[in-house]
Subunit: 314 residues, 2 copies
């Protein structure tokens, strides 16, 4: 029996909330809104340079769940909708950074993945060179989208850009990928694995929520709680992803699985049950931090439930 | 006889100015200042993640002439030093973007170059994956350096970031590289070659000078003249580079030469003499635009002379 089916990752009374039709509708319509915005933000493939625009659109609009963007917007909504319009832009910028990172991670010189979201990876469809240029294009467009937002204070935009540069740079994602490639098989303890999970996944979740906080102009104490909340969501998410990788087939996961057999994960260290328990602990800590933030947690809690009820990484 | 030696590219009375010891000293000390700043802006290789920092430093601090950064700073100096401190940061950011573009252009899936500035290209020394991550790191750090500059108005920083995103994105450098890879050998006329030269080289020169203008808070009319000035410098520079590629050996150029034998350049269309004439025409137009800008052109003119007297691309 598949342990994922046997046991719910977020088995903390979440089903009742997840099944709330109101919250589900809110989240579905928010996802559609993100998708529409992203579609508008990247130029149509009919416009010069047609090939590059096509590659960027293929990798950005390929059907992600938009968890990071939704997280960003929900934080601003939970703060009485303050700065929501900018949170939507910033959330879309985060999705662009995420899409760029997936293009690069999948390259033959990195994870050499062939399938992503049930389709050929970008480099398999368009070649390595155009894929790398499209990744640069998406990362760059992320900064542009934030910088050109005319209705937002310049101070807020600079703060958001600083937060994003920190997430992408050597304190964040690129170091996560570098460690994953060159150091991962030397790890022997959970602390190192959690550090890598933070760099690879946690940091962008954390920054997504922080961007929502920056958009809403929340104070430092609240922002810190929001950062802790989203960091734990990200760590739970990465662990759930490792469980999926261990259990799923490529068809159910929509991407290559068991690529990481020589790499340590919480699953290889603690087994599936232990990893699921770590996941639950992170979700508990996330909920506690959300409560501490003082923000309206209703939709955010429903969102967490929906992420871990679906359990498919996108 | 080597036509480069036979004929001076910037043979427009430049030698007298180039040989001005005062201007030469100013430019040399400015280059040193840029180098020192760049060294400070990228973390030491002893700090985690050591490998990634080493790759970033190898490609950034590998002995470039810092033409783009100097251009940026000289524009602010020509405007009574207004915004000079920020122009120095912005100029360094431009150098980071330039270094990132060289890493990527040299990759096996792009130009497959083996030597750059007399040393192994970054991917040959560190492998493709770390090189790509370092390129992302440098581009990202460029935005960070601008965004974190505490002594500058947020409005100025956002304007500089917008200008840089435009230079890097699908209206600029990534499209230049994409065209160079996939469309270059279909070109048959000079207009297409000049368009490519603009995207590959002109746009970053233009943006470097524009950043100087933004730093100094110059008005639109002056900024437009500054943009025209630097665009022509960039186009002259790319053409001079193609002449060098045609004439030089790898030892004199410090990089692979004659990589582009199947690609059209102004040299292949007009011959060396015709290309040198185009170069001179661009330099004349650059000088006219500089005059029109109303800025103090003394050091900027000397700088142009020094670039084309040396003629080595960096």
């Amino acid at each position: 029996m598949n342990p994922i089916q046997q046991r719910t990752i977020a088995d903390t009374g979440s089903q009742a909330r997840t099944n709330s039709p109101g919250a589900a509708k809110t989240l579905a319509s928010l996802r559609d809104e993100v998708e529409t915005q992203l579609d508008r933000m990247v130029t149509a493939r009919s416009e010069f340079p047609t090939n590059l625009h096509e590659v960027m659109r293929y990798s950005l609009l390929g059907g992600g769940k938009r968890i990071r963007a939704i997280l960003c917007v929900l934080v601003s909504e939970a703060a009485d909708n303050r700065g929501r319009a900018f949170a939507m832009k910033a959330g879309c910028a985060i999705e662009m950074v995420h899409a760029a990172s997936l293009i690069l991670d999948d390259l033959p010189c990195m994870d050499a993945a062939t399938t992503r979201r049930g389709r050929p990876t970008t480099h398999r469809k368009f070649g390595d060179a155009s894929s790398i240029l499209a990744a640069i294009g998406l990362l760059n467009r992320a900064y542009e989208v934030i910088a050109e937002c005319s209705a937002t204070q310049e101070r807020t935009k600079c703060e958001a850009i600083r937060a994003l540069t920190k997430a992408v740079g050597t304190e964040g994602m690129i170091t996560g990928q570098e460690m994953d490639l060159n150091e991962h098989n030397t790890f022997s303890d959970a602390a190192n694995v959690e550090r890598l999970n933070w760099l690879k996944t946690g940091v962008l979740f954390c920054t997504a929520a922080e961007m929502g906080s920056i958009s809403a102009g929340l104070d430092k104490k609240t922002t810190d709680a929001v950062r802790r909340f989203s960091t734990h969501i990200g760590l739970a998410f990465q662990t759930a992803d490792d469980v999926i990788d261990q259990q799923a087939t490529a068809v159910t996961a929509g991407k290559d699985v068991r690529q990481d057999t020589d790499k340590q994960t919480l699953v290889s260290i603690f087994g599936v049950d232990g990893a699921l328990q770590s996941c639950e602990e992170h979700l508990e800590l996330a909920r506690a931090a959300l409560l501490e933030s003082g923000l309206d947690g209703k939709v955010l809690n429903a969102f967490i439930d929906s992420i871990f009820a679906n359990r498919t990484r996108n």
